[in-house]
Assembly symmetry: C2
Homo-oligomer: 480 residues x 2
């Protein structure tokens, strides 16, 4: 497969001079009851505190800049990467411990945990965390209150590994190629009831769920939880590591740019002009609410995706073109990779997507139609009711402090010849172009209507599908 | 089938003179930090407030007696039965409305809702309640805070009924024999995704779940939610209605007896001496904690159960004998029927069992091994990890104010020749008699070990299984 490696600058405006907008003290920010809020009845602005909360004393002491960013879940961002001066001794310790081998998806989860995307989780879930997750989609904090946690972040092992561990409290975790990655401490081993996990996470046990096929069915019958200590930052060496900003790095960047609002857009697809319209419109709305410098976190999912999704390197190149072509403003946009694997678990997963962005500092979250949904694997219908994602998100425990911005449906306006917000009163003028249809266009070389996607971005997709066909033809020729 | 109708007195001590213990003002009740609490680390005593909360002014105005009972969920007990003077006009109104037919289990749920067991629910769930239930096992209150709600209390209708209702806001509900029972107001109709409902409620979609087979598979593809107004109290005319005390009637009875603690025991099986030991021991522990008059709510489930469970009338007769034989003290025990149907949904359902008892005034809840569990319908194992019920209960949102009392395992002590708490140090002396084994004993006429169950109670079971066999023989003879 042809992989288009990016050589784009680290952040999409790092080549520009310091942010032209003056840095602001966030506590001077937006009025709450702007009339626009009344127009967006589903927009949940918890309190101004969520937006302009004063920084706790401890954090203020560490930094001269006052941050307006939302507090991470549990109050402090978890960082499980060992400090440099401990790494040698940790590695020596790990060498002597019983060893558990990680599959590639397990490594992605170790990465997610290490950087605090799942704060306040400090490692793979122990049983009490797992049970709260699958039954309540949330975790109680020892000090009271709850945080959202909808997806089980668990590590499966087999009988042989369990026997090998015995009563040892700490185990070493090794990557797929055998290199030591981490130590898991004070481990707890408990049964991996795959059927129950699948049913409660996906609301179905139908065969053919991509994550299940990839990561659960072949996994062991035990789960091992514990506190994670990662030997050094996890890298993929795929030419995209510079895009993988940790929640702390993102927070630093938002602070550096003087963001007084951060709105996150989760995606695992190329960006078409409908998406762009939505993101630009969101920025406009935030400015109208009184924010002075809303920053967009364009945050493509970087972990496991299903086989027919567009691969990450291609998507990253496509996103670069969208910014190069000026469809999104590089000054007010940060493109970064969200390292999580994809469950395709609809209303359950969208909570995870939102929760993780709280930890990265986003206080506004854009939610689309049927987020994290897909077709039912065995029936001719959507796996989830397309409206349930945003409904569940608006009600989810632990997400009250996040402002949920429901997606307005954009479609191709055949009169205006551009992507526009759908107007039911002249529905006949609009053309809906699904992801499947878009891929079909790109595969067959047919051009989508003018104004569907910027030309640079579209070319990336056409080139990708061409390369796939060339590759397929080469394989077919070799077989013949 | 021979049905043993009870002619027992309405409450198991109503024949006795007024409660011998003086009525107490609850605010003078138990000290919190009794050392025994340290011995029972899993016992969750939220605050003294949960036990001795002062009665809100409005309620105090209505009653001269100060109650020590736990507040119902949402603050006030829901009562959806129309006052007597409104019934005629409601009935006339209902006659003219589109009609939805209820299956027997739907009637049981209407009963549950009408009496406020599911407070603050005011009717069959609308979609926002249903979604919170299946995803979070809890409902947000408009005023903030959450209450537990783990089982969907929903009403299914078919396409024809949906078409018939059209845009009408209110519908009439009719029982299985056609009689009008209630009006459902401001209805909302939404899709009934049976697969998702089953998967998220049971953690499996394996065929053969009793409630699914009985109440979901044959039901319609739409759910209809709304506010319920019941025309008059729902009765079953099975000779057991006098046992069906509403939460308000139970609260009144606890008040009348001057209870300063109420501990509830959910069951759907005959009471053996191990259960009795447990209940008596709980009372002893509560007395040691400083409570002066703990009252046991022996609260058999009265709605739908699976075919091989002992039928309700037989169980009620058995429970009567247990009290007659003095195994439980009638002075400090109230036997009443909990009208809910049974889901056999383990950790999900046990929350419902506990939550409903909060509404009836219980502040202590005894939880057994594998509560609401059963065998997996298609695999040779328990459907749920037997420990998950009590773990989930101890973590469930909205149940914080309820004191969870985990079951100590009782078994037959072959040395002491009685049911006793299991002692792992001399495990060889103990005999575990499962429900299945107990039924086998009763069916085959074999006596269980002396001291397993009081003779009067045992005779009820033997008679029941004899009657079944006689009936089966008669049917077989008739077929031949």
């Amino acid at each position: 497969m042809a992989v288009h490696l990016l050589t784009a600058p680290r952040l999409h405006s790092s080549s520009s001079s310091p942010a032209p907008l003056p840095r602001r003290r966030a506590t001077a920010s937006a009025p709450l009851a702007h009339p626009l809020l009344l127009l967006h009845s589903r927009l949940r602005l918890a309190t101004t505190a969520a937006v302009s909360r004063p920084v706790p004393r401890a954090r203020r002491a560490m930094s001269a800049i006052r941050s307006s960013l939302i507090d991470p879940d549990g109050g402090a961002l978890v960082d499980l990467v060992a400090p440099a001066d401990r790494r040698a001794s940790l590695r020596a310790e790990a060498e002597a411990l019983p060893r558990v081998g990680l599959a590639p998806i397990d490594v992605e989860w170790a990465h997610v945990l290490a950087e605090g995307w799942a704060s306040p989780l400090r490692g793979f879930m122990r049983e009490h965390e797992y049970l709260q997750c699958i039954h309540f989609n949330s975790l109680r904090l020892p000090a009271g209150g709850v945080v959202n946690m909808s997806l089980p972040i668990v590590l499966a092992i087999g009988d042989r590994e369990k026997d090998n561990i015995g009563d040892t409290p700490d185990v070493a975790l090794a990557g797929p190629d055998g290199q030591l990655l981490a130590i898991l401490r004070r481990v707890e081993i408990y049964p991996h009831n795959k059927e129950e996990r699948i049913a409660r996470t996906w609301g179905t046990t139908a065969p053919g769920l991509p994550y299940v096929d990839e990561a659960i069915t072949p996994a062991g019958n035990w789960l091992i939880g514990g506190d994670l200590e990662v030997l050094e930052p996890i890298k993929y060496n795929d030419g995209l590591d510079h895009y993988r900003l940790s929640p702390q790095q993102l927070r630093d960047e938002f602070d550096k740019r003087g963001a007084d609002a951060v709105f996150a857009f989760q995606l695992r697809n190329p960006v078409h002009n409908g998406h762009a319209l939505l993101m630009n419109d969101t920025r406009r709305r935030l400015l109208e609410m009184g924010f002075k410098n809303p920053i967009l976190l364009l945050h493509p999912l970087g972990g496991f995706t299903k086989a027919d999704d567009v691969p990450l390197p291609v998507r990253m190149e496509q996103h670069s073109k969208v910014l190069e072509d000026g469809v999104l403003d590089p000054e007010t946009t940060i493109v970064s990779i969200f390292p999580s694997p994809m469950h395709y678990a609809g209303p359950t997963e969208v909570q995870w997507h939102a929760k993780a962005r709280i930890n990265a500092g986003a206080n506004f979250y854009i939610v689309g139609r049927d987020p994290a949904g897909m077709g039912h694997p065995t029936e001719k219908r959507d796996l989830y009711n397309p409206d349930h994602g945003k409904k569940v998100l608006s009600m989810a425990p632990g997400l009250e402090k996040l402002n949920i911005l429901p997606f307005k449906v954009a479609a191709y306006d055949t009169v205006a010849k551009k992507m526009a917000f759908f107007e039911p009163s002249r529905s006949q003028d609009f053309l809906f172009i699904s992801g499947t249809k878009m891929r079909t266009f790109a595969k067959t070389g047919e051009n989508p209507p003018d104004g569907f996607m910027c030309p640079g971005g579209w070319k990336v997709l056409v080139d990708y599908y061409n390369s796939l066909q060339t590759e397929e033809a080469a394989i077919a020729a070799a077989i013949v």
